[in-house]
Structure formats: C-alpha cells, structure tokens
C-alpha cells in the first residue's frame, strides 16, 4: 500500500517528546488517511496517549512536525485543532459533571457555532439559530449511540457503559474529520465491545479514526492499519495480519527469555 503525503489527512514526522530526562516519544512518525481506522498499540508506557496529546494539541513536541491536509495545522492549541476538525475521547471520559448529557454534547459541537460575541452573550440572533441546530445535532448524536433517553440526566448518574457512549457522542457531534479514540473499550463487557466495533466501523465510513486500545481482539477486527509503539518508538507498522506476524511485536508484548524482569 503506497500513498503520497497529500493523500494523508494528518502526518506526524519525527515527533519527539521529552519530560525532563525521560524521552516519552522518540522520532515517531504516523500517517493517517482520510478514511479507515488506524490502530495505535503498544505495552503500557509505550507513548500512545502522549502521541494523542501531541496530535490534539495538549502537548507541544520537543521536535518533529505535524501536517494537516498537506499543510501546517491552523494553530497549535487544542481549540485550534478541534475547530480544524480533530476530536478526541479520553480514557477517563472527562465529561462535564454538573451539565446534563445534552449540554455535554452541545458543548462538543462548539466548532460548528458561527455567531458573533453579542449573540454569544445574549443567545439571540445567529447564536439562537446555531443553538437550536446544535441541540438538534446533539440529540441526533445521542440517538446514534443509543442514549438519547439520558439527554436530561447528569453523567454521574449513568452506568459507565452509557457514559462512554455519551463521550463518543460528544466527540462525534461536530462531524470531525479525524477522531482520536483513547481506549474506548476499557471497562466494557463483551457485548458492549461488539457494539463498539460496529460503531467504529460505521464512523470510519466518513471519518478518519485513530484508535488507542489494549483490547487486541477489537483492534484486529476494526483496524485497517496498525502502528506499534514501544518505549516511545515505532517498532512495527502494517495491516493487522502483518503486525500480528511481526516478531518485534511479540517481543514487545511478551518479552524474550532473560529480559522479563527488566520489563
């Protein structure tokens, strides 16, 4: 599979992140096509979430470049990247605790609001139309993930699996071009993981998805391409079958005789 750089929605090259003396990412490269699911896997501490934090603007890399749609990103801060079309979920969900589920999802649609400062304050004019539209979108997103009946409840009162669906709805409501999913299967039952797999494949029809996940069965089922990180470096990349057959990946996960204690 060969693709040119301009075909890629997002390209990360030579991304290096250092925390003091610790190098969390060491020259990592990642290419994300405008559709399909890219899996990002690796043992704990491999640098997966750190790379997500770079891609979503939370962390600035010590070195390396990001390219968005063939050019420089429209800004380096999280809200710049979010407005450009990069959405993300978190391991810890990070829902807004004292806001209803519907308000949580409306807040996620901020990049689609068009009103000026005055209508933002008063809720009148352009923003009034925007808000009506955003609320309708938010409800549609909740329906898509099967949790519309929780729209007026607080997230903390809902079961964990439902909160995960709300977090997904919040990330998807703004029609992102790139969706970063950070361990979406964590804490879900077998049936819920099956449902999640179908949802991810459905999302990937019109959105690029990058998936960080420890649930290998899910990764192998939904990903078109997988990148494996270990100790902040890319140790393997390819299709699920290629990665599964790569001895470097087996070593990273299982270790080899004599190095088990070191891991």
């Amino acid at each position: 599979m060969t693709t040119t750089a301009t075909e890629h929605l997002l390209t990360a090259e030579g991304i290096t992140v250092r925390f003091g003396g610790l190098t969390a990412l060491d020259g990592v490269g990642l290419r994300v096509r405008p559709d399909g699911v890219t899996g990002l896997i690796g043992p704990n501490g491999a640098g997966k979430t750190t790379l997500f934090n770079v891609l979503s603007g939370i962390l600035r890399p010590s070195a390396g470049t990001l390219t968005w749609k063939g050019g420089p990103p429209p800004g380096r801060r999280p809200h710049h990247l979010a407005r450009a079309g990069i959405a993300r979920t978190f391991q810890g969900l990070h829902l807004f605790p004292l806001m209803t589920v519907l308000d949580n999802v409306v807040a996620g649609a901020d990049r689609l609001a068009r009103g000026g400062p005055l209508s933002l304050v008063t809720g009148l004019g352009r923003h009034h139309r925007d808000e009506r539209e955003l609320r309708a979108r938010a409800l549609a997103a909740l329906e898509r993930f099967g949790v519309a009946d929780t729209a007026h409840r607080l997230p903390g009162t809902l079961p964990y699996g439902v909160q995960k669906q709300v977090a997904l709805a919040r990330a998807c409501v703004c029609d992102p071009e790139l969706l970063l999913l950070d361990e979406p299967a964590g804490g879900l039952s077998g049936g819920q993981v099956d449902e999640l797999a179908a949802q991810i494949r459905s999302l990937a029809r019109d959105t690029a998805v990058v998936l960080v996940e420890h649930h290998m069965d899910l990764v192998m089922r939904v990903c078109d391409h997988i990148v494996v990180l270990d100790f902040g470096r890319v140790i393997s990349a390819g299709t699920p079958d290629e990665v599964r057959a790569d001895p470097a990946v087996t070593r990273a996960y299982l270790g080899t005789a004599g190095e088990g204690d070191a891991r």
């Binding site: 979503s56 603007g57 939370i58 801060r77 999280p78 809200h79 979010a82 407005r83 959405a87 993300r88 978190f90 990070h94 829902l95 807004f96 605790p97 004292l98 806001m99 308000d103 409306v106 807040a107 996620g108 649609a109 901020d110 990049r111 609001a113 009103g115 209508s119 933002l120 304050v121 008063t122 809720g123 923003h127 925007d130 808000e131 919040r170 703004c174």
Partner: protein, 283 residues
C-alpha cells in the same frame, strides 16, 4: 415588632451586598479553585473611578457606569496578565498573588487619592425603612443574580463558561476557548464586585473601606458553599440578617463576632456550605 422589621430590612439590604461579594467569589472559585483576595481591590478601582467621574460629569449614573466598566476591565486584565501565568504554575501562588494585588491596590489608591476618607455621593437616601438605598441594593443584587442565572443556564456563552470551568481540557478539545471563558468569568465576577463596592462604599470611602465588608462576603461564601452560587446568595442574606439581629438585640460590638462564629459553626458541621449535599468519601 417595628424594631424587628427594621432589623430585618436592614439585614436584607446589607446581606444583599455580602451576597453580591460572595457570588463574585464563587464564580472565580468554581472556574479556578482560587479564592480571590483581590476582589476588594477591584471594588476599590470601581468606587474611586466613580468618585472621580461623577463630580466631573455632574452625574452619579455616569460615575456608576464608569465604575462598573473600570472594575470589569480591571478584573479581566488581572486574570489575563497577572493571575493566569502565575496560577498555571501553582494555585497557591495564584492565591498569594491576589492578596498582594489587594495590598498594591490599597497602596496605589492611597498614593493617588490619599488615605483620608472621602465623601462619596449616593443617588439614594439612606433615611427610612426600607430606605431607597436599601431598595436599590436589594433590587440591583436580585437583578444581577437572576441575570447571572439566565446567562449561565440559557445562553451559549454560559454553556461554554460552565464547560470551561468544569473541565478546561475537555472544553478546549471541544473547540471552546477555555482561556477566554476564564477571562469572561473574571470580568463578570469583577462586575458584580464593583456593584457590591458601589453599594457598600457610600457615604465615605477610603483605601480600606472594603476590609470588613469583604470579610463578611467571604463569610457568606463559606456559609453558602464556595462551590454554590445559589448558596452564596442565601449565605449573604443569612449573614446580613444574623449580624443585623445580633447588632440590634445584643449590641453592635458583637456583630463581627457573629459572622466569625457562623464561619466556625458551618466549617465544623457542613464544611462545604449549608446547602451542600453530603459527598461520598473516597477511601
């Protein structure tokens, strides 16, 4: 009975001022977990602006508008250029900086306008029960509380401000300009503190005029719960009424003691404020 009514009306009027100050503290605390000790400094900026503009223009209301504008702008600038860069490193440093700002403002006002008391004209008469001044205080604070509720609950800005306060990182990643929302929160808080200053300042102002009022404002915020805007209003009215009754029936010298006793009592029995729900304890 008349005495009781007088004390109640007086307590409600002063309680409205404490409620406004408490509300302004709660807005900042909810967004940043900082207790802003610079709040009286913003009120000082407001009243001294009014004391300068009103005589120049001959209009109390132009002075009033200038006071609220100056106080609001000062709040936004303080957040953006002083508190945010410091609080980002350490919240405790941020709190200490707000204390420093109060001292700087009091010193600065003393240098420019002098440390003596200045007469401060007021648009309303203090005579009568309820006096026009009492009615204005209660009505303006009630209006602010209602507007604030509408802003937070029913406007796009309020939704974004709540999101930024509850989870700044998630808000940013949803495209919300969390920093701007923070500045907006401080500006609104400073606007309310400026209003409280304009109500509490007259008939005389000096650089330390808000020291005691601020203590009662903090008392109100603690009584109602630093995390609860509705509690701040209730706390302010309770503190105002409590101090008024104690002052009227037992002697004014016990009023301050009442406020402090109230803080000790609330912190001992319900540390999160009288309107808080019992929280689950993590073990």
């Amino acid at each position: 009975m008349d005495h009781f009514v007088d004390l109640t009306l007086g307590g409600l009027a002063s309680g409205a001022v404490y409620a406004a100050l408490a509300l302004s503290l709660v807005i900042i605390y909810q967004a940043t977990r900082l207790v802003n000790f610079a709040q009286p400094a913003l009120a000082l900026v407001a009243v001294y602006t009014a004391a300068t503009v009103a005589p120049l223009t001959g209009s109390y209301w132009l002075g009033f508008a200038a006071a609220l504008t100056a106080g609001t702008a000062a709040g936004a600038l303080v957040e953006r250029f002083v508190v945010r860069p410091i609080a980002r490193v350490s919240r405790l440093n941020g709190i200490i900086v707000t204390l420093g700002l109060l001292l700087v403002a009091q010193g600065g006002v003393g240098m420019v306008w002098g440390n003596d008391q200045h007469g401060f004209r007021y648009a309303f008469d203090f005579v009568g029960r309820p006096s026009p001044a009492d009615v204005f205080a209660l009505a303006s604070v009630a209006a602010v509380a209602v507007l604030l509720f509408c802003l937070y609950r029913h406007t796009p800005l309020g939704l974004r401000m709540r999101a930024a306060a509850l989870h700044p990182e998630a808000a940013r990643l949803s495209g919300v300009r969390a920093g701007l929302m923070l500045t907006a929160g401080w500006a609104i808080s400073a606007l309310i503190a400026s209003l409280a200053g304009m109500l509490a300042g007259p008939p005389f102002i000096s650089p330390n005029v808000f020291d005691a009022v601020f203590v009662y404002g903090i008392t109100a915020a603690v009584v109602g719960g630093l995390d609860n805007p509705f509690g701040a209003v209730v706390g302010g009215l309770l503190v105002g009424l409590g101090m008024s009754y104690v002052s009227g029936y037992a002697g004014p010298e016990l009023a301050t003691l009442t406020a402090l006793a109230l803080v000790v009592l609330v912190l001992s029995v319900r540390p999160d404020g009288i309107l808080s729900r019992p929280a689950a304890r993590k073990v």
